[in-house]
């Protein structure tokens, strides 16, 4: 199976869907001539021309608003917001317009758009370019939020998102673009709302997504060396959420650790914790642990940034706490 990079997987997904469906087009800041801030749209303008790969003004409100309008007019836009931190400027268009239109028009319109963006820390580019804001969007009814961690999932999920009729926020991770993974040469899709079990185990369940899913796998390996069998789940989609898979695992292990790169306070994982206690309270053998980012703006200092963001060793420690082991 060919091994390609995460950013290549994104590019391939876009190209394949543009070949497949002439309504699909790409727009955003520097996505055409420059090829995207993280090179995820490299070569598309040469392949499809400037009418289908469009550079826009530096205005996230325009990008999100134009994408919403185009989608309602029958196009299938894939618009890029360079950093998830800039979604604040596109907020009204996305959560007030795109998210609600189908509902408020009684189903007479749909908004089949994908907003591609990226988030997360790791490059020491400070508090305006390093956040994980997925919780804000999961909160809004009417949108899906997808956060793949591997090239395989990135490609398969992006293709599914482009074909889906709902407005979708597709959040990539800046530290994953150059990661490599096996991706089939032939076409495939990854369905929305299906978590992936990265490692099976009976002692503790570790649930994560995006880059933290890789750190959770690392933690799973480290725990295995100490004889603790962790079950590691990569959610892949936060909405729709594969709660069945999480509950099934918690019922088996009785212990749950959640890892997220977003701020701890009102983190998306709190929603999972709430649902676990609703549906599996009697299966719990220990308080649920969450490993999240520090509740402060993401620091620029490499030392502080590293400390503020969950590492594998912190996930290992949390897993051990649920097992009553000394950390």
């Amino acid at each position: 199976m060919p091994v390609i990079m995460y950013r290549e997987a994104i590019r391939d997904a876009l190209a394949e869907e543009m070949w497949r469906d002439s309504r699909v087009f790409v727009m955003g800041e520097d996505v055409a001539i420059y090829g995207g801030a993280y090179s995820a749209t490299q070569g598309l303008v040469e392949e499809f021309g400037e009418s289908r790969v469009r550079d826009t003004a530096i205005s996230e409100a325009v990008i999100a608003g134009a994408a919403t309008g185009a989608a309602m007019c029958g196009m299938r836009p894939v618009a890029e917001i360079m950093y998830v931190d800039f979604m604040t400027l596109a907020m009204d268009q996305f959560v007030n317009q795109a998210a609600k239109n189908r509902y408020m028009f009684g189903g007479k319109t749909t908004v089949p758009m994908v907003l591609r963006t990226e988030g997360g820390a790791g490059r020491c580019i400070a508090a305006h370019h390093s956040q994980s804001l997925e919780a804000w969007f999961v909160h809004a009814p009417g949108v899906f939020v997808v956060m793949p961690s591997t090239p395989y999932d990135a490609k398969g999920l992006l293709k599914t998102c482009i074909r889906d009729d709902n407005p979708i926020l597709f959040i990539e991770h800046k530290m994953l673009y150059n990661t490599k993974g096996e991706v089939p040469a032939e076409e495939y899709l990854v369905p929305l709302g299906e978590a992936a079990v990265r490692r099976e185990g009976k002692d503790v369940t570790i649930v994560s997504y995006s880059r933290m899913a890789l750190r959770a796998e690392e933690a799973g390996k480290a725990l295995a060396e100490e004889g603790i069998e962790a079950e590691v789940i990569d959610l892949r989609c936060l909405r729709p959420l594969d709660m069945d898979r999480v509950l099934e695992s918690v019922k088996k292990t009785g212990r749950l650790v959640l890892a997220s790169e977003a701020y701890k306070n009102a983190n998306f994982v709190c929603e999972i914790i709430a649902r676990v206690q609703e549906h599996a309270f009697d299966d719990l053998d220990a308080p649920i642990e969450r490993v999240c980012a520090a509740d402060c703006p993401v620091p620029m200092s490499p030392v502080l940034e590293d400390e503020a963001i969950p590492r594998a060793d912190k996930i290992v420690a949390a897993a051990k706490r649920t097992l009553g082991r000394n950390v």
Binding site: F281, D282, D283, A286, G324
Partner: protein
């Protein structure tokens, strides 16, 4: 604090009980709800639960010892606390005034008291609590190894595994094996386990149950029920001067009526239910049959309570239907079905198998034509029912086939003379031959 554990009163007529088996030993921690020991009364084995929290300091009654209700059988207190001499002196004695004393114990089956109040907060995970409930383990006796010393599922599992101080009754067994053993009357202590860590599994219990039959000449210990059945039957044969009356009943109409009632499907009515009703009416008519022999004189009994013998694997028990004369056959049917079912699962309360005036015993289902039943001491008569079958009968000079059943009445001659007994049986027969009157 020193707390006395006394022998609970398990039924209206129970004055004494026997300690069957101690499940806790001296020095064991005990908590409210823990089973301290098993006691035997008239045909039932019941568990004695602790109401107190602390350490079982002293056991004052030996296994096998028969004691009056209210007697002090054990002392619970703080670990290492000294038991005062005056408490030790009370061992085995019935209290002078039982009413003045708050009963600190209740048998598990009749306990309706509020749940024990935990002292301080006991930390256990929801999962551990669920498992503890499944295995019947008291959380109070377990040390937690989870986060912040919390009791977790693994601690519960460990507590019931071999050698664990908190394991129930000493024997380690799966919940299924425990249930099966209780139902089959197999003492778990004597079963060697083949499960993990010597845990007794279902298969082990089944093997233990089959073993006595295979090994001839082996002495099987008496179960409490077997011993009681033996004692009472011997007492009857030695002290009750019986005579026996035999009579055939033509139950052709009864068979048809029962079929008709059961076709309606409301309640399944058995022949016994009609017989119970007929007995109730006969008891009311013949006070001599509804009486009890006592040293002071003959006790006339007002109500007509009739027992129905129910066979169990390890013996038999006779649940009693109260006031059968006043109840409809359908109502009797409902009650007997419920009583028989609970008798088989050993869930009868003592007051449900005591106080009968007479007993009905039916072996018809085994094809027995007639048999002579043994009077249950304390009752005056017992009626044995044989099989209902088609037999040739002479009627007005012609032989015809009729549904017939043979009744045998064993009667205590001290209470019921032959002529009375005969009329008593005749009345029952007449009622069965005109069954419509029983249901009208």
């Amino acid at each position: 604090m020193i707390q006395k554990v006394t022998l609970p009163k398990l039924g209206e007529t129970v004055e004494v009980s026997t300690i069957e088996r101690w499940l806790k030993k001296e020095g064991d921690p005990v908590a409210p709800g823990d089973i301290l020991c098993e006691i035997t009364t008239d045909k039932a084995t019941l568990e004695v639960e602790s109401y107190h929290r602390g350490t079982l300091l002293k056991i004052l009654a030996k296994e096998g010892q028969e004691l009056p209700v209210g007697a002090v059988i054990a002392v619970v207190g703080d670990p290492g606390e000294k038991v005062p001499k005056e408490v030790l002196a009370e061992a085995g004695k019935a209290p002078a005034k039982r009413a003045a004393q708050a009963a600190p114990l209740a048998p598990a089956e009749v306990q309706a008291a509020a749940p024990p109040v935990a002292e301080g907060r006991l930390k256990a995970s929801p999962r551990a609590r669920r498992r503890a409930k499944e295995l019947g383990v008291a959380l109070e006796s377990i040390r937690g190894t989870g986060p912040a010393g919390r009791i977790v599922e693994a601690d519960i599992e460990a507590a019931v595994s071999p050698g664990a101080p908190g394991s129930k009754g000493g024997a380690r067994a799966t919940p299924l094996a425990r249930k099966l053993a209780a139902r089959e009357g197999v003492p778990l202590a004597g079963v060697s386990g083949t499960g993990a860590g010597g845990k007794v599994m279902k298969a082990d219990v089944l093997r233990a149950k089959a073993a006595p039959a295979a090994a001839s000449g082996r002495v099987v210990p008496l179960s409490p029920m077997r011993r009681i059945v033996a004692e009472r039957m011997l007492l009857s044969k030695q002290t009750v001067p019986c005579y026996y009356l035999t009579m055939d009943a033509d139950v052709t109409d009864l068979v048809a009526l029962r079929a008709k009632l059961n076709a309606k499907g409301e309640v399944k009515v058995s022949y016994n239910d009609f017989v119970l009703k007929a007995c109730g009416l006969a008891l009311r008519r013949f006070p001599a049959a509804n009486s009890r022999w006592t040293e002071g004189g003959i006790e006339r009994r007002g109500a007509a309570h009739v027992g129905l013998a129910v066979a169990l694997d390890e013996g038999l028990i006779v649940p009693v239907v109260r006031d059968v004369d006043k109840k409809s056959v359908l109502q009797i049917a409902r009650e007997t079905a419920d009583l028989a079912q609970r008798a088989r699962s050993k869930r009868l309360r003592p007051d449900e198998y005591q106080g009968g005036c007479m007993t009905v015993s039916n072996l018809g289902m085994y094809g027995i034509r007639s048999f002579i039943p043994v009077v249950n001491p304390g009752e005056s008569v017992i009626l044995g029912l044989g099989v209902i079958e088609e037999r040739p009968v002479c009627r007005q000079g012609k032989i015809c086939a009729r549904q017939r059943m043979t009744l045998v009445l064993s009667a205590d001659h001290r209470l019921v003379d032959g002529a009375i007994g005969a009329q008593f049986l005749e009345m029952i027969r007449d009622a069965l031959e005109e069954p419509q009157k029983l249901v009208d």
